[in-house]
Amino acid sequence: MHQLLRIVTVGAALIVLSIPAAAEPDLSGIWMLQGRSAERELVLTMEGRRIQNAYDLLSDDPSLKCVPASISRVWANPNVLIGIEQSAERVFISYEFYDLRRDIPLSDEDSMPDMPSTQNVDGRYFKEMGSSFARYKDDRLIIETRNHAPGYIRTSRGVPQSEQSTATEELWRDGDTLKLTLTYVDETLFEIPFILDHTFIKTDDTEVPLYECTDADYDWFENLNSPQQGSSR
């Protein structure tokens, strides 16, 4: 009986050892949002509602000045490419939208850089995108982001982010698609974590082209129709 038990135990141990550990996911490539990002339940605090109610899309949207309003806003833009490169020390994400380059060390929070992790190709840093560090867990890449400047997680409806906001991005492969779940926690703004889900498809592109954003300045247009311009006769 003891002999049989020993054989079973050793056999079970060999089976366990023969199962390969979950490999780091290969997320490298150039991706594009498929469909639209989906959001789960949004429950704002009183302060969150106050900021949202004061938001005026036509003047407060940072996108009007080619400024990324948040990590969420950048991931959720349709029809633009996103390149991901992985190395032993870091993850590098190139967003076509606003020509953003996000350099994320594989480290813990203690090694998180003080500087924002994101800058555009002209070298301008964006604190709205926060400072990030990353790690692999099972088949997922986990990116943690802190030190945000106030911004908007959803510019269409003025869903805010604050300096207290923390963002956790979980990225993984699902067949030919890339999945992203983005979770925002901020007790000053949300009663429960605010979670958004995204799916990306791999493209045949080999590089992320330049976007060259132009400020959406409407003043010149509104001046055309102002009485001082004499456009109305």
Binding site: R36, L57, L58, D61, S63, C66, N77, P78, N79, V80, E96, F97, R154, T155, S156, R157, P209, Y211, E212, C213, T214, A216, Y218, F221, E222, L224, N225, S231, S232, R233
Partner: protein, 123 residues
């Protein structure tokens, strides 16, 4: 809005519900048509646009900004603005903007009756 301006209120169809958030929120669900002469074409990111000058029956003039998708989106969808030359008289149909005298383009009809469509371009 001037009475002479051709404005047609149409039923908002499910098609437009697929539009990008920013498009939905920057523009109303009211479909309008405006005639005018092209003054400028901007092919750029994040929004391309066509500036037209509309002249009402009483001679008064207003500029309209006809907005459409990003240059990158138009390019990827095979939509080119080359045909839209300054000086051409057009009739543009699209969603009325929340800003005065703005529109999100669906279709342009040229004087010869030919059409240019930007439907499906959301951002």
């Amino acid at each position: 809005m001037k009475a002479s301006l051709a404005v047609f209120l149409l039923v908002f169809t499910a098609h437009y519900s697929n539009a990008h958030h920013a498009t939905v929120t920057n523009f109303t669900q009211e479909v309008i048509t405006v005639e005018g002469v092209i003054e400028q074409v901007r092919y750029q990111n994040p929004h391309s646009s066509i500036l037209i000058k509309h002249t009402a029956d009483d001679g008064s003039q207003k500029y309209w900004l006809i907005e459409t998708g990003a240059k990158t989106t138009l390019h990827r969808k095979g939509v080119h603005l080359d045909r839209l030359s300054v000086g051409l008289k057009i009739q543009a149909t699209g969603l009325k903007g929340r800003r005065e005298y703005t529109m999100f383009l669906h279709e342009i009809v040229f004087e010869d009756g030919s059409k240019f469509s930007a439907e499906g371009v959301t951002n």
